[in-house]
Symmetry: C2
Subunit: 327 residues, 2 copies
């Protein structure tokens, strides 16, 4: 089986490649080739014995779709995107990267000929939803994004649904929760603090909390994100029916509950490294974000996530810190 | 005030132009110029004393957006589209006409400079929704179109919302019910029978009913459609808020209730001209269509529609038949 991952140098892309190598296959078939593409050449995952083709590609190039599909991958994970903050700051770039290349890719598949009909897993986002919300957002809630990123993801969902309905490919779109705890260093994303307040204290560093503890949000670990992608690829057209875009399950919790989980797992001395520094701009952005989803359909289709935020903290300690917390 | 109508040669476009001429203005301002564009040159409406620029334009041309906006119309009604059946039969043409030119138009407005900031009214459709449905479809129901036409309209809604949110223009999208009674001759559209079974018998001709009388659907007259468009242009950004795409009110009734209304208005001899000829293909298509909407938000914003199907029949007799029914 030949698998293509776009955005393979990103955090979720790396986790997915590692997961595929660990599993040794996808849907019960061995993976004999991985094609990994990003704006910088991704690294090949350790321990893979099959063929790896890892290269840099600007997916905004008009021929990118053809280039990506010329090796006829059996499954494509389309993760390439610019993040929410960047798409908001640079309107043209958001559309140029988050929308147009996906349409090129769909067109390249549709016109490839020879019965080419890949599985295409698209990472959408809960950013397709915008406030005001009911207390629990149902699976059939409408898309009213309050960011260009959310609008671009929503448009890609509709394209994917139509190309799938017409029989050009087998698509499935998964709306990822906010991924927490993101490894790496603090970034400028408005959502960064959800991870920062866990990751930095666990590493012995101070973290800034810019919002009230009452802010509720929807989380899943990077491990769960890779699991969602792999499970999405296993779903048949029959199982999915025409509604191929799914809100992934997550852990709904407030910032206060996140901190309480960190205290239970790592102790008060770690929690003491969180410094409150309210930021009106970030508070305003976050107030438009979704809080809690029903996600019944995804759960009934077998998607799994952590049960508690404690587990999300432990996944980070396990995967990124080798089990060790900075005293 | 300068008003541009794309798709101005179509039925709704003509009704709108006539309505604007009859009103003499829009939002309390006199209309001194009408620009009317379609794939064939539209006719100037009778009785208009202002300037009319009516010309043929293929909106799929890459420079169409610039051409349409070079005269800086204050209000734009974007009605141009290929119908559902054609977009389904010719996949490329559907995207080329129903999606790409709208994006060009938005880009032309965004990049026009000089503070250009028009009102843009977009005609969307209830085809953005796809079965299964609740018994009454709420305003916050998700988009799961079962046609390419519905997908294209849904994508345009998201684009319009994002360009409006970013402050490039003042957009409002209105999801039209099925327009009934369509004047003219029977066409091949799957929805054609809803109009055919009223229009043809009233004109002394036989009409074919291809579905069961229990089929329920959502209707508004051509007069109401023009009214929706004019009212949409009057809504301020403050009144609309960020959710600028609205399901228009309509009359929910079954085919049996349509026929009963025709009987009340025109008598049994007219109803007797309807011939039942079940068509499995049309029945299957229609089974995926929406039935009844709540449309609470549009009503609260002041959109008005007929109260009964009897009224819809009378509007047709009044506007198209000079008040006369064929005996």
């Amino acid at each position: 089986m030949h698998i293509l991952i776009t955005g393979a140098a990103g955090m979720v892309g790396r986790k997915l490649a590692e997961r595929l190598v660990a599993d040794g296959g996808l849907n019960g078939k061995p993976v004999d080739k991985l094609t990994l593409v990003d704006i910088v050449a991704p690294k090949a995952p350790a321990g893979f014995t099959g063929k790896v083709d890892a290269y840099a590609l600007d997916i905004a190039r008009e021929d990118a779709g053809r280039k990506l599909t010329e090796g006829r991958p059996d499954a494509i994970f389309h993760l390439a995107a610019v993040v929410s903050g960047e798409a908001e700051a640079d309107f043209e770039k958001g559309y140029r990267i988050n929308l147009v290349p996906f349409h090129y890719l769909l067109e390249a598949i549709r016109t490839a000929g020879g019965g080419y009909h890949p599985k295409l897993v698209f990472t959408s986002s809960i950013a397709v939803f915008g406030a005001p919300f009911p207390s629990e957002i149902p699976d059939d809630f409408h898309h009213t994004p309050l960011t260009s990123y959310g609008a671009q993801k929503g448009i890609c969902e509709l394209l994917l649904m139509d190309y799938t309905r017409k029989g050009f490919l087998d698509g499935v779109g998964i709306r990822l929760p906010t991924i927490c705890v993101r490894p790496g260093t603090p970034n400028k994303a408005a959502s960064g603090f959800f991870s920062n307040i866990i990751r930095e204290p666990l590493a012995g560093k101070e973290a800034v909390l810019p919002v009230e503890e009452s802010v509720m949000h929807w989380h899943a670990s990077p491990r769960s994100a890779a699991g969602f992608l792999v499970h999405a690829a296993s779903l048949t057209r029959e199982k999915l029916g025409p509604r191929i875009n799914l809100t992934m399950p997550g852990v709904a919790c407030t910032v206060g509950e996140q901190i309480a989980a960190l205290r239970r797992v790592a102790g008060e001395s770690v929690v003491a490294r969180i410094r409150r520094e309210p930021d009106a701009t970030i508070m305003k952005i976050v107030s438009g974000w979704p809080t809690r989803f029903d996600a019944r359909r995804a759960r009934s289709l077998g998607f799994k996530v952590e049960d508690t935020f404690d587990e999300i903290v432990r996944v980070h300690i396990d995967e990124e810190l080798g089990g060790k917390i900075a005293a």
